[in-house]
């Protein structure tokens, strides 16, 4: 047994290393693609910075020289890669600020929002999804299915403004905008945005969980366990939850990765200065260093989330661990 467990870990570690290598390759490809796409985008960042009237040829030339925009494409890309490998992502063309500083100023808001919404999603979607799936066609199921349909169809910005109007303006329980300082204040500020973001996510994960639970509910082992009078808590925890976990984990991971890349609409409605808001401004201004660094960063976040989800598969599903050893 001990040897088998050891081999299992070696296999999983090998899997992780292979995935990490793939991540590096994907990041390299993404960086080149983004760099190329930005180079192909019409418009000159120097002109955008100055505004058309102020953009005299001399002024444009000075700014282009300052940011190395006149170098050949491959030279620019090489310089960027070399600097990036040293942790230097350059300065923003719009503000002159270090790009890494700009991202670190904003990453907190995005992680908070994504994390808070994720916790709400998991706490609400999984239990209700399981119940709906196990009690297919009954009142609980019909309620959960109907409300998730409504939640999926409601546009994010409309939900956001509705919540803001009710809970910030009429009831005055929560602030209408901003991100707050310190843990409790941030929690208070982030509640409405997180609920707004979570509403559509809950719908997605709930439906996935329901489908997975329905699949499990019909299995012979559940019927058999019930016949054996296994306590129902044990049936729920050991049998249903465990066996439904893979699709749930997959959808939850996707949802988290999505909101970590910046929930642009929610950030806009609640005036949160997160990564999504920064990306929108930077793309509009062709602020190349910022867009480039942000893309890298969000690609890294998404890839890492996926890797963690994949590794969790092993933790949740013994069949995969055994398959890994056998392979």
């Amino acid at each position: 047994m001990a040897a088998a467990a050891g081999r299992r870990w070696v296999t999983i570690a090998r899997f992780a290393v292979r995935r990490l290598a793939a991540m590096v390759a994907i990041l390299a490809i993404v960086s080149f693609l983004v760099f190329s796409l930005l180079a192909l985008t019409p418009g000159d960042p120097a002109v955008l910075l100055l505004g058309p009237q102020k953009a005299t040829p001399e002024a444009v030339a000075r700014i282009r020289a300052e940011f190395g925009l006149d170098d050949p494409f491959l030279v620019q890309y090489r310089d960027w890669v070399v600097a990036a490998l040293h942790g230097d992502f350059g300065r923003s063309i719009r503000s002159g600020q270090q790009v890494t500083d700009m991202i670190s100023e904003r990453v907190g808001v995005t992680v908070w929002l994504a994390g808070y919404a994720f916790v709400l999603t998991v706490l609400i979607a999984i239990p209700f999804g399981l119940v709906a799936g196990m009690r297919k066609g009954r009142l609980a199921d019909r309620l959960a299915t109907a409300s998730s349909l409504v939640a999926l169809s409601a546009p994010t910005f409309a939900v956001g403004f509705l919540l803001m109007y009710v809970f910030a303006v009429q009831l005055d329980w929560f602030p209408a905008f901003g991100s707050g300082d310190g843990f409790l204040d941030t929690l208070w500020h982030m509640t409405l945005p997180a609920v707004t973001l979570a509403i559509s996510q809950i719908a997605i994960v709930l439906r996935q969980t329901r489908a997975a639970a329905m699949d499990v509910a019909d299995r012979d082992y559940i019927t058999f366990a019930r016949a054996r009078a296994v306590p129902s808590r044990r049936i729920w925890q050991r049998y249903v939850l465990h066996n439904a976990s893979l699709p749930v984990l997959t959808s939850a991971g996707l949802v988290l990765a999505y909101s970590l890349t910046g929930a642009v609409l929610v950030e806009n409605v609640f005036a949160l200065q997160g990564l999504g808001a920064l990306l929108v401004v930077s793309v509009a201004q062709l602020d190349l260093p910022v867009v480039q660094a942000l893309t890298m960063f969000t690609a890294l976040l998404v890839l890492t989330t996926n890797l963690v989800v994949d590794l969790l598969y092993f933790a949740f599903d013994p069949r995969l661990r055994r398959a890994a050893v056998a392979a």
Binding site: K54, A55, Q98, E105, A176, A271, A284
Partner: protein, 536 residues
């Protein structure tokens, strides 16, 4: 100045780009009057302003869009100030003189100190202007391109030398030449204007914290030379969506919002804890047609286009009637403040009236043109400026009736701005320009004539060039008005630009506060927080 909340940085940059002197013929020399604190109202702890995008940098050499400048101008003094009529007045300089057209001499006050207590020197002032001149990478360098030398002549005098006369210099200094401490800037290096080294100034507020993500917190300068402001802490928070700002205003989380979108003012008017102020802005919207490219090289086509625009009918749907139809490409406020209401009316009455809205007359004009059967053309609309898309759709609908196909293209603010200076872009463009001062030649100087630097319609011929050369060389209103009037007369006949609307500027202020003298379009040229106080 951005009148549209969603106006992007680019539109806003366009808007305040060129500043011209607000001083009339007799104002080249002024001396300081009383400069005491004018704020009414009572002391109050905190005021929160929402701005439409986070401030980019506290250094105006790096970022100068309007939301950023709102914060910068609360912290950094300028040499001169603009009053509520747009005229330039003394400020840090107690006196400014123009002994000859190429020389400006500024005499400095002796009681001005930086936030750290060190006195302001003439070296600091000379440095603060010179940093935007010559080979500087300052994004304001274009404004000061005529400046050849800035010298601290003695401890209280700074002399600016020009390569050509520039009557607009004082107004540009009042808005853009923010006074910095030279030593601080040199030590800060590249970090200047960022969160760690925001800058060292002499203004009514010092910068307590600034972040390009969260906005800024300013603290009152208790030793301010013009008297301490009434509001102790001034906070700026970025709220991009005006609907969010309205709800935040309604719940009392913000106390003020600049540049409320005119289309949304009806909802803002209903706020019971805030008051809306509407003032005339120096904003002019127009349609530009490239006079060198077919089919718009034919004046009959341009006249037909003018007949197709229902300017009066669109004022309500586009602006809640918070705008008026424009007479010329010069923002109306520039004429009313420099010539007076009667003078402006007299000028307008002398000009050819704008072609009336009439499909039949459009057909007639088109029939006389080289493209009697119509043509097809693209028209880009900036989705961040709410008036553009409905106007273009309305125009396209009318144009279809005479055989002209207008393909309306929704584009980003950046692409719209880029299209204005792109020779390969569509020959028809919607343009929104704003002025920084009351000098009526501010926009014509670069929009008309072969030498115009931003002549989108490429409108130049020997006759208009001669008028514009004279207008551009004028240093006084008396010299300016005859050639400018001729140039505008030619423009209303030839219609390279169809003047559309003069927009108002809407500002929301919480009822807990008062703005002494009222919000003015020229606030960016002022130490504006001095006018704020608690309603008490």
């Amino acid at each position: 100045m951005g009148t549209m909340s969603r106006r992007s940085a680019i539109a806003v940059a366009l808007a305040f780009t060129l500043a011209a002197a607000g001083c009339g013929s007799d104002k080249a020399t002024s001396t300081s009057g009383g400069t005491g604190n004018t704020a009414a109202g009572v002391e109050i702890d905190k005021m929160v302003w929402a701005i439409q995008s986070p401030p980019g940098s506290m250094d105006i050499a790096k970022a100068g869009d309007v939301p950023t400048q709102r914060v910068q101008t609360a912290a950094f003094d300028r040499l001169l100030t603009t009053d509520n009529t747009g005229a330039v007045q003394p400020w840090i300089a107690s006196k400014f003189e123009n002994p000859d057209p190429l020389t400006w001499v500024f005499t400095l006050r002796d009681d001005v100190k930086f936030w750290d207590g060190t006195p302001l020197t003439s070296d600091d002032v000379a440095y603060s202007i010179a940093r935007h001149t010559g080979d500087s990478t300052s994004i304001q360098a274009f404004l000061f391109a005529l400046v050849t030398d800035v010298t601290a002549t003695d401890a209280s005098t700074v002399t600016v030398t020009l390569s050509a006369a520039d009557p607009t210099l004082p107004a540009k200094l009042a808005i853009f030449a923010q006074i910095h401490q030279k030593k601080y800037d040199e030590e800060a290096g590249d970090a200047l204007g960022g969160p760690d080294k925001p800058g060292m100034g002499t203004g009514p507020y010092s910068i307590t914290s600034f972040s390009s993500a969260d906005g800024a917190t300013l603290t009152r300068n208790d030793n301010y030379w013009a008297g301490k402001p009434k509001v102790k802490t001034l906070e700026f928070k970025a709220i991009g969506d005006p609907d969010t700002a309205r709800l935040a205003m309604s719940s009392g989380e913000i106390d003020g919002f600049f540049d409320v979108p005119l289309i949304a003012t009806r909802q803002w008017d209903e706020l019971d804890n805030a008051t809306m102020t509407y003032v005339q802005g120096a904003y002019n919207d127009m349609l530009s047609m490239d006079t060198t490219r077919a089919p718009f090289d034919d004046v009959n086509v341009r006249v037909a286009m003018a007949h197709l625009i229902d300017r009066d009918g669109l004022l309500g749907p586009l602006f809640n009637n918070r705008a008026t139809t424009a007479f010329t490409i010069v923002p109306a406020i520039q004429f009313t403040s420099s010539l007076g209401d009667a003078g402006a009316t007299q000028l307008y009455e002398g000009l050819t009236p704008f072609p009336e809205f009439s499909i039949d007359k459009a057909k007639e004009a088109l029939a006389k043109s080289a493209s009697p059967d119509g043509f097809s053309v693209d028209l880009a609309v900036d989705t961040s400026q709410p008036w553009m898309s409905p106007l273009a759709q309305n125009l396209a609908e009318n144009a279809e009736k005479v055989g002209i196909t207008i393909n309306v293209k929704q584009v980003s603010a950046a692409d719209w701005g880029a299209g204005l200076s792109d020779p390969d872009a569509s020959p028809v463009q919607l343009v929104a320009l704003g002025a920084g001062t009351a000098w009526p030649n501010e926009l014509p100087s670069f929009m008309l004539g072969t030498n115009g630097g931003f002549n989108i319609a490429k409108y130049g011929n020997p006759e208009i060039d001669a008028f514009m050369d004279k207008a551009n060389a004028s240093a006084t209103l008396d010299d300016l008005m005859p050639p400018l009037t001729d140039a505008l007369q030619m423009t209303t006949d030839d219609l390279p630009y169809l003047p559309l609307f003069d927009e108002q500027v809407a500002t929301a202020l919480s009822n807990k506060f008062v703005w002494e003298g009222g919000y003015s379009y020229w606030a960016l040229g002022q130490a504006w927080p001095l006018q704020l106080g608690g309603a008490g």
